[in-house]
């Protein structure tokens, strides 16, 4: 029995690369959403009133402690019954972004907590307005500290995109499965998908390490 067929590999490659594009698109948009929402959660954790802190905390804990797959199913099959229908890819981006925002929120929190108290005191001493304290003093220092950690979540999200197949998004892995289901040969497509994941995730993690070194003083 042949173990590897190069011409078949060439035949399925275009479909896999199309899937890779979808995978990258979902990761990129999901990351943007996760970064933005995570910051919102992190700031809400520090709100002066518990009427904001507690509900936000409850939502974040709920999302973080339920599986991504269940959330995707909910967004895809249940949400439309309330009249709110998004395309499969949009649903996937919302699912990934929302899920990972609950993790990035903790990353931001750590970053903000890591800003030395002296910085807060200096801002107060200079009687900087609250808004300016955040945008010019605290967040620039906090975010600089957490860029590598955020990067790791991007890589984790990248590796979670095959879950979107459950809501009919034709990502890289689903394309491979379909190619396999049609030809009954899974070895080539699945191997290529694995290699593509490594080819993208490993350099990205190297980049994150370099960033960590540069930003870490």
């Amino acid at each position: 029995m042949r173990t590897w067929d190069w011409s078949y590999t060439g035949h399925v490659l275009p479909d896999l690369l199309r899937g890779l594009l979808v995978t990258l698109e979902a990761t990129a948009l999901g990351s943007v959403l996760a970064f933005a929402l995570g910051l919102v959660w992190a700031l809400a954790f520090r709100a002066p009133t518990r009427w904001v802190r507690w509900p936000v905390g409850a939502v974040v804990e709920f999302v973080r402690n339920t599986p991504l797959l269940v959330q995707l199913f909910f967004l895809f099959y249940v949400l439309p019954t309330t009249g709110l229908t998004f395309s499969p890819l949009t649903t996937g981006v919302i699912g990934l972004g929302l899920h990972y925002s609950t993790y990035t929120a903790e990353v931001y929190r750590a970053g903000i907590d890591g800003v030395p108290p002296g910085q807060w005191e200096a801002a107060t001493a200079l009687s900087l307005p609250r808004r300016r304290t955040w945008t010019a003093v605290i967040l620039p220092q906090a975010i600089r500290r957490v860029v590598p950690a955020l990067g790791n979540y991007v890589i984790a999200m990248f590796k979670d995109t095959p879950m979107l197949a459950a809501i009919t998004v034709l990502d890289m892995l689903k394309q491979a499965e379909e190619a396999g289901a049609e030809s009954f040969r899974y070895t080539e497509p699945i191997t290529v998908v694995g290699l593509l994941f490594v080819l993208i995730a490993y350099p990205t993690s190297l980049l994150m390490r370099a960033l960590e070194r540069r930003l870490g003083n």
């Binding site: 029995m1 173990t3 895809f76 099959y77 249940v78 439309p80 019954t81 229908t85 499969p88 197949a165 459950a166 009919t168 034709l170 689903k174 499965e177 379909e178 396999g180 289901a181 049609e182 009954f184 040969r185 899974y186 870490g216």
Partner: protein, 301 residues
């Protein structure tokens, strides 16, 4: 913290990398070996003798009602396992063991020796015949669509879907995706669901205009509960390249296991001719209209 990470990185990278490569090599080697040992049998194979010795045959199933599935009590049931069990008992193999797997993995699973027979009501077609040795079919069905109630887009066949530009859903690995493409439905309009039930959910959530499947599967799917928002269309036989596509299903064996297949076939014919076959599969929604005298040879083209 940062200091510790640096020292760690400085002392061990060569070792770790070499270890990793070694592990990868071993995995590749192991995979290579298992593939060689499951190579196609020659001179008809001796699987039947081995199964008689073990007393148990492993059936690959795909969790599809009514063909083969695990019921509420956790028992293997469905049309195909019931018939397979009857035949294997007559062949001297009294026990069956289900191996549930998704439909698209049935053929690779059979070929990589995860089970002995595909008993999932799999359709016999030329592409599959190139990979699997089929028994003669024991049933024949037509295709149908699930559409929103009232069928707003007036969809009846794949041709209607292609003409109106409607969106459709299929279950992963099923034959429907190939039918649809051959009728010119663009792949961008075909959503692939993990199973029939999620397809039904997709229709009820308004995610597509229709969901395609066999008349039998869809009828049983709708019988799972109350589904006021959807309905099933009149069954039809798809035509591809001027040839009618009969949805006739049988049992799949590893290539080369012709002796087991032939023994299975002769018992199957005996069951069919005595009327026992229909009695066995009637509880799963099969009737005289689903019975067939087609052969695997005709279907493999």
């Amino acid at each position: 913290m940062s200091y510790q990470q640096h020292t760690h990185r400085a002392t061990t990278p060569g070792l770790t990398r070499r270890g990793l490569l070694g592990a990868l090599g071993l995995t590749a080697l192991a995979t290579g070996c298992s593939r060689v040992s499951t190579a196609d049998a020659t001179d008809g194979g001796n699987l039947l003798e081995r199964l008689r010795e073990q007393g148990t045959v492993r059936l690959g199933i795909a969790g599809e009602i009514p063909f083969a599935y695990i019921d509420r009590d956790g028992r293997l049931t469905g049309e195909a396992p019931t018939v397979a069990k009857a035949i294997f008992t007559r062949l001297g193999v009294p026990h069956t063991q289900p191996v549930p797997i998704d439909f698209g993995s049935l053929i690779p699973g059979l070929r990589s020796n995860q089970f002995d027979v595909i008993a999932a009501g799999m359709f016999i077609n030329p592409t599959r015949c190139a990979q699997v040795l089929f028994s003669d079919p024991d049933y024949q069905v037509q295709e149908a669509l699930i559409v929103p109630r009232g069928n707003p887009k007036k969809l009846r066949t794949y041709a209607d879907i292609a003409r109106t530009g409607a969106s459709m859903g299929v279950a992963t690995g099923g034959i429907e995706i190939q039918y649809a493409k051959s009728y010119g439905v663009p792949s961008g309009k075909i959503a692939i669901y993990n199973d029939q039930l999620s397809g039904l959910e997709g229709i009820e959530a308004g995610r597509m205009d229709c969901f395609a499947g066999t008349s039998l599967t869809l009828r049983n799917l709708l019988a799972t509960g109350s589904h006021p928002k959807v309905e099933m269309t009149e069954p039809f036989i798809p035509v591809v390249g001027g040839k009618k596509q009969y949805g006739a299903g049988g049992y799949g064996f590893r290539p080369g296991e012709t002796r087991l297949r032939d023994a299975f076939n002769s018992q199957l014919h005996r069951l069919r001719d005595s009327g026992e076959l229909l009695r066995l599969i009637r509880p799963f929604g099969f009737t005289e209209t689903e019975s067939t005298t087609l052969t695997a040879r005709e279907l493999c083209g």
